[in-house]
């Protein structure tokens, strides 16, 4: 079974947001990484770029598949996880510890549209 962490917000496209103050850390869930297999590349935006809820901001690639990263929230990218540039397999090792981008949230109300851990667990089981 895939890991799901309490207290995070989840999207239907398998991204999570971990909120700390006015910032959100966005990554893909453990379920998503397990579906993809060996992640070999993470395509990330640049710092200062704007991301919009529901819009793609990058992609994760395995050898035989690629998946868009859909931003669960809107805001400005204040940091990207540069460790993933050289070691994208960190996403497989621990998807929740290895977030992809850190965003300054522009509208915290957007979080209300996301799922909590229980709802996401149920969604994955479908």
């Amino acid at each position: 079974m895939s890991k799901v962490i309490e207290g995070l917000y989840y999207s239907e496209s398998h991204e999570y947001v971990k909120v700390e103050g006015e910032y959100g850390y966005i990554g893909i869930t453990d379920f998503a990484q397990s579906q993809l297999g060996n992640v070999v590349y993470v395509d990330m935006p640049g710092e200062g770029d704007e991301v919009t809820a529901g819009e793609p901001f990058g992609a994760v690639e395995s050898v035989k598949a690629a998946s868009d990263l859909i931003s669960p929230v809107s805001g400005e990218v204040v940091e990207v996880n540069t460790a993933l540039e050289d070691t994208p397999e960190l996403v497989n090792e621990d998807a929740f510890a290895n977030w992809i981008i850190k965003v300054k949230l522009s509208d915290s109300a957007e979080l209300d549209a996301l799922m909590d851990a229980a709802a996401y667990t149920a969604a994955c089981a479908e």
Binding site: V40, Y41, D43, P45, A59, E61, S62, V63, K64, A65, A66, D68
Partner: protein, 453 residues
Amino acid sequence: MKYFPQTPEDIRAMLERIGVQNLDDLFAEIPEELKLKGELQIPHAQTEMEVRRTIGAMAAENRPLCCFAGGGVYDRYVPSMVGYLCQRSEFSTSYTPYQAEISQGTLQYIFEYQTMMARLTGMDVSNASMYDGATATAEAMMMCVASAKGKRHRVVVSQTLFPEVLDVVRTYADYHGVTLCEVGPDAHGLTCREAINAALAAADVAGVIVPLTNRYGLIEDLTGLADACHAAGALLAINSVASHLALLKSPGEWGADIACGDAQSLGIDMGCGGPYIGYLCTTNALVRKMPGRLVGQTVDAAGNRCFVLTLQAREQHIRREKATSNICTAQGIMCLHVAIYLALMGQAGLAETEQTAADGAHCLCQRLAALPCFEQAFPESAFLNEFTLCYTGCRPLADVMADMADRGFLAGIASADGTMLTLAVTEQRTPDEVDALVKAFAEVCQAGCGTNQ
């Protein structure tokens, strides 16, 4: 029918196993009104002897001409070895090498091709998938825009590119939604640098595309261009005739982000226009934005070196509408042509070939410019194996070219308005042929003119 191995008995047994009466029953679900009723009105079947005769007669209808035309396609000598090895059907009848375990032949020669093209262009990596130089340049344009991640939609392109290349780039730009900013030549027949700099002032330039040797045969001086592009946040793509890179400063040395063009000049017959192979090389930084197939080195389960198609997540079969391109082709056999040609020639042979061609072109240029009907169009600009003359004769240039063809010469490519003629020389042209061409021009240009031109 020699291509169908099924005997009537085989067909009967197979139909029985399937559980239908006859072959037409296999199409039972197709609505009757869609089915062909009468016989198709195509030619009657021909035997192998007849096919050879029919098509042989068509081949004979093309006039064999001594070729002084270029324009991106050159009459290069193709060593016997190239065609001989490329005909091996283990190579020619194979598919795209998805099953690496039984495709190491294809994968290895593509890897060699990639390495050779990267070294020739001075770039980090090469793909193996471009149809021709024109479409490769259009792909370079789209790659510039894709690399800007939707933030820049304008590409600056020099009008000194070969006309066919420019036309194809225009078509792709039109439909793909790229704003082209075309820059014309200066008085010396070279891309106008002030115009490029002016165009780069716009904030949304994704890339600049210029030729290395241009439509007039002239060598462009690209000093400082890469820096200017990069300072403006744009990529630089350089289109060049692959064989010219044996002598000319390579796209990598000029600081290009993308090198593209046609590799027909590397051992491929002119063949009425194809097949050729385009090339597209780039830097490691841009490899994921590169279109087309790419072979990489790895190891197999036993730890031995082997080769596979890689970075496939960029491609259409995985990324669908988000792919870097719709290209599916791996231009396999043409990669093999180029790899074998370059393996035989090496840098030394290629340079010797180009130097012979260039010296021949300079000899011919001098001799033709001495005729009353021609003068050198851009005398202050350097050229390699191709040059452009202004035509000042009294007869229409088209008539002159037709007469030259009657004398056995494809005597260059005339501009549409009949004022300029561009000629190319390759290592295959002999002093006798050059003498004969000059003599023929002197007579043909003169014919029907008054004594005072």
